[in-house]
């Protein structure tokens, strides 16, 4: 599979940058007066900062990958239009990991040895992250993941791995468990994919609901490659008050449809992670039964009444309309709940590189970058962080933010509750900073 490159806008070559710098020399004002001119002039070098995007372009994560690539391109454009990182343009090199852990590790290796990127970033599925992270550590390549699993935060990986753009599952579920037990019910049956990401749900939501005085009536684990689900549904005991579902991959639509067929109108309360419906149109026939059910959303797919100007800006830049579909194709539904993580991670990389005065790929620069990232304590809500403010823990390399609980109302997802950052905090036991660099 050939790789592709997201280049700085306007096809700026080194020569054209040098020419531009020459022309603008001594005329600082002229730079301000030329809108769109990229100001790389203060950089010690005009060589681009190379970021390797490890992408689920194919395989079961492809619908996320499509959007992760678009969001990355949009964020890179914003960064480059604003002068790049430390005055250097950003260039993104894309490699497909096929949503496959083995290929994931190969991609990381390719980034380090062949493309010689400054940072690898991007991948989502937890098994790919877990498969790739050890190689990134061995190659001493900073590896910024846009996953959700608890693998980074748990301390299971290594010092080179960060998750600054999206909260981990453990934090998500403990933030929402009190709301679920208070508003929907205390007896929960869980349906989750049978791999690391699903196991985080199983372990930490079970723990959280028990802490609320609730109980788990059943745990239904489904292999991630499964394409049919009806056979699992009889395991849902009849006294279940809340059905908690989280599924991933290409079969998610089949899953929700079969859930609807099975229950009809006589269903328990249903709380789903939007993962079960990412990239799927809510208006698809047979999904009407989802009306009045609830979903977790990292970032609300439908523009809300109190939409921030930052969400508006971000939505426009990544080409998503108020209903969460691509502005160029109504049928192309975004993975809005997760993909903001790419945008925010890139700005976190920028922030750390600027704080450390990152210049190139020397061990000192890399060390400086990692320590600068670890020193970050919070991200303020803004254009760089449209999903909301976050705090960042330098010890376990994980950020913590707000979660949204949305209700399906009239075929739209309306946010009914937004958790506070504190709701999702847990005692952090991991400390990557004690590992050597």
């Amino acid at each position: 599979m050939s790789n592709s490159i997201i280049k700085p806008q306007k096809g700026i070559s080194r020569r054209s940058v040098l020419q531009g710098m020459g022309a603008a020399a001594g005329t600082g004002l002229a730079l301000q007066a030329m809108p769109g001119f990229v100001r790389y002039s203060q950089a010690a070098t005009s060589e681009p900062v190379k970021i390797g995007l490890q992408l689920h372009r194919t395989g079961i994560g492809a619908s996320y990958g499509r959007w992760y690539e678009r969001v990355t391109a949009a964020a890179v454009k914003v960064i480059n239009d604003g002068g790049g990182i430390n005055g250097r343009p950003v260039e993104v090199i894309v490699e497909d990991d096929g949503t496959d852990p083995k290929r994931g590790a190969e991609v990381v290796e390719k980034f380090a040895t062949q493309h010689k990127v400054d940072v690898a970033y991007g991948t989502l599925f937890s098994h790919v992250v877990i498969g790739s992270a050890p190689r990134a550590g061995e190659l001493k390549l900073p590896y910024v993941v846009v996953s959700e699993g608890h693998h980074v935060a748990s301390g299971k990986l290594n010092r080179y791995v960060f998750q600054p753009g999206i909260t981990d599952v453990r934090s998500q579920v403990i933030a929402m468990a009190p709301w679920i037990s208070k508003n929907l019910g205390k007896k929960v049956t869980m349906i989750f994919p049978d791999f690391a990401f699903g196991h985080d749900h199983r372990d930490y939501f079970s723990e959280a609901i028990k802490a609320q005085g609730g109980q788990v009536a059943g745990l239904i684990a489904i292999p991630p490659t499964e394409s049919s689900f009806t056979r699992y549904l009889p395991q849902i005991s009849s006294d279940t008050e809340v059905l908690y579902h989280v599924m991933v991959g290409p079969a998610v639509l089949t899953f929700v449809k079969e859930l609807g067929q099975f229950f009809g109108s006589s269903r328990p309360q249903i709380f789903g992670f939007i993962d079960s419906l990412e990239a799927v149109d809510l208006a698809t026939p047979q999904l009407e039964f989802l009306e009045d059910t609830y979903f977790w959303e990292g970032n609300p797919r439908y523009a809300q009444k109190d939409q921030t100007e930052y969400d508006k800006f971000y939505r426009e830049m990544v080409g998503v309309d108020a209903n969460g579909a691509s502005t160029s194709d109504q049928k192309d539904i975004s993975t809005y709940s997760h993909m903001f993580g790419c945008w925010e991670s890139l700005f976190a990389i920028k922030q750390a590189m600027e704080a450390s005065g990152y210049e190139g790929q020397t061990p000192k620069d890399k060390q400086g970058f990692i320590e600068a990232m670890e020193a970050i304590q919070k991200f303020d809500e803004g254009r760089e962080h449209p999903q909301g403010d976050k705090i960042f823990n330098g010890k376990n390399h994980q950020c913590y933010g707000h979660q949204n609980i949305s209700k399906v109302t009239g075929g739209r997802l309306e946010v009914v509750h937004r958790t506070a950052i504190e709701d999702g905090l847990y005692e952090v036991s991991a400390d990557y900073t004690t590992m050597s660099l």
């Binding site: 009806t230 009889p234 009849s238």
Partner: protein, 293 residues
């Protein structure tokens, strides 16, 4: 849920599985029976059938029923044509050498899969069912379309049985299978028969895929499971035996449905694989297969 309703749902799921599996496995079995070719690309013809069904149905997306039934005609025809071309261009030139054809069909598997990936993309796309109603049992609901798939598969099997046993076409196929040289001596154009049989095998997989795609979506990686299950069915039933294929598909489909519901789908897969091993040890020709002559 009580045992009765549990068993009912398991049986329905098993029958659905068996229905689709019978058609797919029959295609594989037919190709092996007549041509003595192990078609490793069979699952990809199934996938291709689903993808073409999506493409056809999206041309007529305003009317799901029209789109679906158009797909039911166009998809098998196109898949048949592609399979025919593959047979003429590749397998014929290898003179149906057993080892070479295995490698060639593995190659076809990857070429078809990657071509679909490039042309159709890596996402799963749904095809809307021609009609949708829920059959509400007292304990759970079941899709009426699933029941239609079971009925349609039974009808198609009947048609296959009729063609194979009662028509001249079937006679020619059976003659070719029975003794290639003698059939040729009686003026049967063996080459043509092989081409058509290979196409027909692929078409059966494509029909199965069109029937299932409103339930399971079209995805470029969907060919692997039906290939494995078809092999399991064909080995248990006996290669080239229509009766064996149907009975083995029923056994595998129903046991898969029932074991999956009562225990776990992984256990169901393990048991079917174990069955294959047992059949290979104790009755290598399969339950209904003829001994090699």
């Amino acid at each position: 849920m009580d045992l009765g309703p549990f068993l009912l749902l398991a049986t329905l799921e098993g029958l659905l599985q068996a229905a689709v599996l019978t058609l797919t496995a029959l295609g594989l079995s037919l190709v092996f029976g007549v041509m003595r070719i192990v078609n490793v690309a069979h699952g990809e013809f199934y996938m291709l059938g689903a993808v073409i069904a999506w493409w056809t149905a999206s041309l007529l997306s305003s009317n799901p029923a029209a789109g679906f039934f158009l797909a039911l005609v166009i998809s098998p025809l196109l898949v048949g044509a592609i399979a025919y071309a593959c047979e003429r261009l590749i397998l014929k030139r290898l003179e149906y050498d057993p080892e070479a054809t295995i490698v060639a069909t593995i190659g076809m598997l990857y070429v078809i899969q990657q071509t679909v990936l490039i042309a159709y993309g890596p996402d799963a796309h749904p095809v809307e069912a021609p009609f949708f109603f829920r059959v509400q049992f007292p304990w759970f609901g079941y899709s009426g379309y699933n029941l239609f798939v079971i009925a349609a598969a039974i009808a198609l099997l009947g048609l296959c049985w009729y063609i194979l046993t009662k028509t001249r076409l079937g006679l020619i196929m059976r003659a070719t299978q029975f003794d290639r040289e003698t059939a040729q001596a009686f003026g049967i154009p063996i080459g043509k028969v092989y081409g058509y049989v290979f196409a027909a095998g692929a078409m059966l997989a494509a029909i199965a895929a069109v029937l299932i795609v409103p339930i399971r979506q079209a995805h470029y990686l969907m060919g692997l499971d039906p290939l494995l299950l078809s092999f399991i069915v064909v080995i248990i039933g006996g290669l080239g035996s229509l009766r064996g294929t149907v009975i083995a598909a029923l056994i595998i489909g129903l046991s898969d449905g029932i074991i999956s519901v009562f225990f776990s789908p992984t256990l169901a897969k393990m048991i079917s694989t174990l069955l294959v091993a047992l059949v290979l040890v104790f009755k290598p020709q399969g339950l209904f297969g003829a001994r090699a002559r």
